[in-house]
């Protein structure tokens, strides 16, 4: 400290250049430290899941062992139990069917709506768009009690089709909004050029507008898929038999027998089902955030 002060006094220019560098270095170190701590907090639950999956029961349920590492040889018993003694693969298949149907319904309804609201200069289009988007903010908590009646009247209770019907209510409002933003970005000249060349509007949309907006279609589709896999309350209320549960519900309910939790298999199911969704979500995260914050003008 003293040395540096002398240096500053005797050679001010050198000192002037030195000080910001050391301060920045200190900042970098603090930043690295903070990032390291945050990384630990973020990643630790996932590490804990992975290590739990491959531990023997005697190793898991011991108060004296170091829980952070293997004290007995790693094992595949928990994974085996999940795959062979539970309906995990059925649940995955259910989720896949539900997800694909929800994506299809969402796109079939949201693409025409988003296109019309963004490009046909309809009076009141902006307000209508915001009104549809507003329904995204109606939480399932407010709707699940009446919806149990709706599902019951339609005879869909305890089937995956109840979820195919209801889950698009979460994805359609957001998808319309997202697609409005993407369609607004397609220059009008391109579509008009196709119309002048003799294409019908339908042809112009299919061959010109949709291919240009495919990033938007992909984002809307992935959003619908991720939403249908994230959902918990609706599956919990509408499905009760093991055979019809989606994976999110099946894992957290069927691997618990009374007070007995099959922790190893539970963590395996949670990770195997959760990681693909997380990776998928990561791909359209920026579109999602932009959809929420930047509105439909992009």
């Amino acid at each position: 400290m003293i040395a540096r002060r002398i240096e500053v006094a005797t050679a001010p220019r050198v000192g002037f250049r030195l000080r910001p560098i050391t301060r920045r270095q200190r900042g970098t170190m603090l930043r690295a430290l903070a990032l390291a701590i945050y990384t630990l907090v973020t990643v630790f639950p996932f590490y804990w899941m992975i290590i739990t999956i491959f531990k023997q029961n005697a190793d898991l349920y011991s108060e004296t062992n170091n829980p952070l590492w293997f004290n007995l040889a790693p094992t595949f018993v928990n994974v085996q139990y999940l795959l062979e003694q539970t309906r995990f693969l059925t649940w995955m298949a259910n989720s896949l069917i539900i997800g694909v149907c929800v994506v299809a319904i969402t796109l079939v309804l949201a693409v025409p709506a988003g296109y019309a609201l963004a490009r046909l200069r309809l009076p009141g289009a902006e307000q209508l768009g915001i009104a549809i988007f507003a329904t995204y903010l109606v939480p399932p908590t407010l709707l699940f009690i009446p919806l149990t009646r709706v599902v019951h009247v339609l005879g869909l209770q305890n089937t995956i089709w109840s979820l195919v019907l209801i889950l698009p209510t979460i994805s359609i409002p957001f998808a319309v909004w997202l697609l409005m933003g993407f369609f607004k970005n397609v220059p009008f000249e391109i579509e008009e050029a196709a119309l002048i060349d003799g294409a019908t509007r339908r042809q112009a949309v299919i061959h010109v507008v949709l291919p240009i907006s495919r990033a938007g279609l992909a984002a809307a589709g992935m959003f619908a898929f991720a939403i249908s896999l994230q959902a918990f309350l609706y599956p919990l209320v509408f499905t009760s038999s093991t055979a019809v549960k989606p994976v999110t519900l099946g894992v957290v309910t069927d691997l618990v027998r009374g007070d007995l939790f099959y922790w190893g298999s539970l963590m395996a199911g949670a990770l195997f089902a959760g990681l693909p969704v997380a990776i998928l979500f990561n791909y359209f995260l920026d579109d999602f955030v932009e959809g929420i914050t930047a509105g439909s003008t992009k």
């Binding site: 990032l35 945050y38 973020t42 639950p45 996932f46 804990w48 739990t52 898991l60 349920y61 108060e63 829980p67 309804l109 025409p112 709506a113 609201l117 046909l120 009076p123 902006e126 915001i130 988007f133 507003a134 329904t135 903010l137 109606v138 939480p139 908590t141 407010l142 709707l143 699940f144 009690i145 009446p146 919806l147 149990t148 709706v150 209510t169 359609i172 409002p173 319309v176 896999l229 994230q230 918990f232 309350l233 919990l236 209320v237 999110t248 894992v251 957290v252 539970l266 963590m267 949670a270 990681l275 997380a278 979500f281 990561n282 920026d286 955030v289 929420i292 914050t293 509105g295 439909s296």
Partner: protein, 306 residues
């Protein structure tokens, strides 16, 4: 319209054409609107009606005015649920703002491994909440809690905490999981705001001799506040009506000490078959949610027109 159309020939055909065209345009929007009205609007109305009746799963119920609301306000479990919902929303929101902004600044700028780090950091938000909550439940286990093990090792506690079995730790656990999950979302929103912000503005402020705190308050906050505000309103709406974390982590326990409105509505309305009372519990915060939604939509509309 008619008089104008008869007077001038060319606008007439154009006007007719445009009207037919508009009519078709609305037809394209119609299916989505019907879906939303039938499965969001109609159930919402039905829920409001239920809350004013004594409907159960077995009978349709008759109109009883505000009796359900009067009853639930006398119900000590409801009062607890209302209190806990408010505490969780307020504390978790405060924690989420602070940590989101901090994390966004930590991730700002280019450094090696940044995109990998970002993928890791968003994991809590992108993984289905039910699945991460079950992992936390295992970490808070009454006998084999790894969190206790680590805290004991470091010497921060001298005896194991019953995280999910004692009231205050259970609330801390619920708030912790809720915050852990939402911070990445807030951070990404703030980062989107920061990258949209021209770097020269910050540099100019720096050259003008503004300190870090001055830059933060005068340049960065006003530019990211609107975007963060919207994200927070969204998060608040979903936190106030959230149930998954509580349902899986504590089921509202111990003895309703972490009970929240949504979970209580599920217990009364679905498990207990009391549709009317359950609907009243679920809809109790509707006025608050409507106000928050209006704020959010107005903030979005403002950005839209800007």
């Amino acid at each position: 319209m008619v008089s104008l159309a008869t007077e001038v020939a060319i606008p007439r055909t154009r006007a007719v054409h445009r009207r037919a065209f508009r009519y078709k345009g609305y037809l394209l929007v119609l299916p989505a609107v019907i879906y939303v009205l039938a499965l969001i609007g109609f159930p919402l109305g039905m829920g409001i009606w239920y809350s004013l009746t004594d409907a159960t799963v077995a009978r349709d119920g008759r109109f009883i005015g505000l009796k359900n609301f009067v009853d639930i306000l006398r119900d000590p479990t409801f009062t607890l649920a209302l209190r806990n919902t408010t505490i969780i929303a307020v504390v978790a929101t405060a924690a989420k703002i602070t940590l989101s902004v901090a994390l966004a600044f930590l991730l700002l700028g280019a450094f090696p491994g940044r995109s990998l780090l970002r993928t890791l950091f968003v994991l809590p938000w992108t993984i289905p909440v039910a699945l991460s909550t079950i992992a936390w439940k295992w970490m808070f286990h009454s006998q084999f809690s790894v969190i206790n093990w680590m805290l004991l090792k470091v010497g921060l506690i001298d005896h194991a905490i019953q995280w999910l079995g004692t009231p205050v730790p259970a609330m801390i656990a619920v708030i912790l999981v809720s915050t852990w999950r939402a911070v990445p979302f807030g951070a990404i929103v703030v980062m989107a705001g920061l990258t949209a912000l021209p770097a020269d503005v910050i540099d100019a402020a720096r050259v003008d001799g503004a300190s870090w705190l001055q830059r933060f308050r005068a340049v960065i906050v006003p530019l990211i506040a609107p975007i963060l505000f919207i994200a927070l309103l969204f998060d608040l709406i979903f936190t106030l009506s959230e149930l998954t974390v509580v349902f899986l982590l504590t089921s509202g326990g111990p003895v309703d000490q972490t009970q929240v409105l949504a979970n209580y509505a599920l217990q009364v309305g679905v498990s207990g078959s009391q549709l009317g009372e359950g609907a009243a519990i679920a809809l109790f915060l509707l006025p608050v949610l409507i106000v928050l939604t209006i704020f959010a939509l107005r903030a979005i509309a403002r950005r839209e027109s800007a």
